[in-house]
Symmetry: C2
Subunit: 179 residues, 2 copies
């Protein structure tokens, strides 16, 4: 339960953010989140993320949601979940991660696109920064999950993978399993 | 000298990868690389990255290069630099990072877009994976630099910053310095 962590992507801009939002989803999966919710995005993004889960394993859920992000967050809190907003203005991840890891509630990590509504800072239980420099919500999410799982996510095993990579010094080696 | 690490972004696709390549550049800067070279990309990307350096501090160089990536890599090696290629097919970063950190040569971390030419695997001194799952070159670069600098990059100070953030639990606090 402690490790039940989901991602909410808000502020996605149609077409413009297509690739960035897809990366956010793939990072959420690869770094051990259980799923991602994306507000107002193209079906194509969900297809791409689901396809990766089908081929490389899961479990991982991807849901496109129509409901307003505020409504979604307030539902999450009503079900006793907590909200962690990643922002360059927040407190350093190193300062807060142990406390967050110990919380028993279901966790929702919120990552926005370029500009995020001010209210989010007040609706969140934690505003957490991964450096106070402008960079990328993709990198911020990866680093947050890395610190949350203390690096263990780098050797995470996925279930029902059709393809698996055998790490190599040079070249590519992939094993196909028939399941 | 040991910490002289640069990034080379190859395979950028005009328009399509604009935002992703910009994120790669901003992550390179925020996570402590000295600069980024980008093959065949829009001026707009350089403007955006340079603007961040101007406002939030440096030093960080961003260069758009016209020369073929193979030529660039071979020049780098001729000047006794080493090449580290980030790829999901490579050896786990945890296995190799201590060795890489001890190398005295100038380092070039290569990150490709979707598909990378096979030759690169053979021209590189190291092919390194950040998980063997498909995700994002942005996240891969962030994690690689994080492991290279052992997390110290998260509190990196930049010189000549016009703006600095004061981390806060809620809201935004920015200090402007007149330099």
């Amino acid at each position: 339960m402690q490790e039940e962590i989901y991602v909410l992507r808000i502020g996605h801009r149609i077409e413009r953010d297509k690739r960035v939002t897809t990366h956010v989803g793939l990072v959420a999966r690869a770094f051990g989140a259980k799923g991602i919710f994306i507000t107002n995005a193209e079906n194509e993004i969900k297809s791409k993320i689901d396809q990766v889960t089908r081929i490389w394993g899961g479990p991982f859920i991807c849901e496109l949601i129509d409901v307003d992000w505020k409504k979604f967050i307030s539902n999450w809190k009503n079900e006793n979940g907590i909200i962690i907003h990643l922002t360059m203005y927040g407190l350093p991840v190193e300062e807060k991660i142990d406390e967050i890891r110990l919380r028993k509630e279901k966790k929702l990590v919120v990552v926005g696109a370029e500009k995020v509504p001010n209210e989010l800072y007040y609706l969140s239980d934690y505003n957490i920064s991964i450096t106070n420099q402008p960079h990328s919500e993709i990198a911020a999410l990866a680093l947050f999950l890395d610190r949350f799982y203390s690096g263990k996510e780098l050797s995470l095993k996925f279930s029902n993978a059709k393809l698996k990579i055998v790490p190599m010094e040079r070249g590519k080696k992939v094993i196909e399993s028939r399941i």
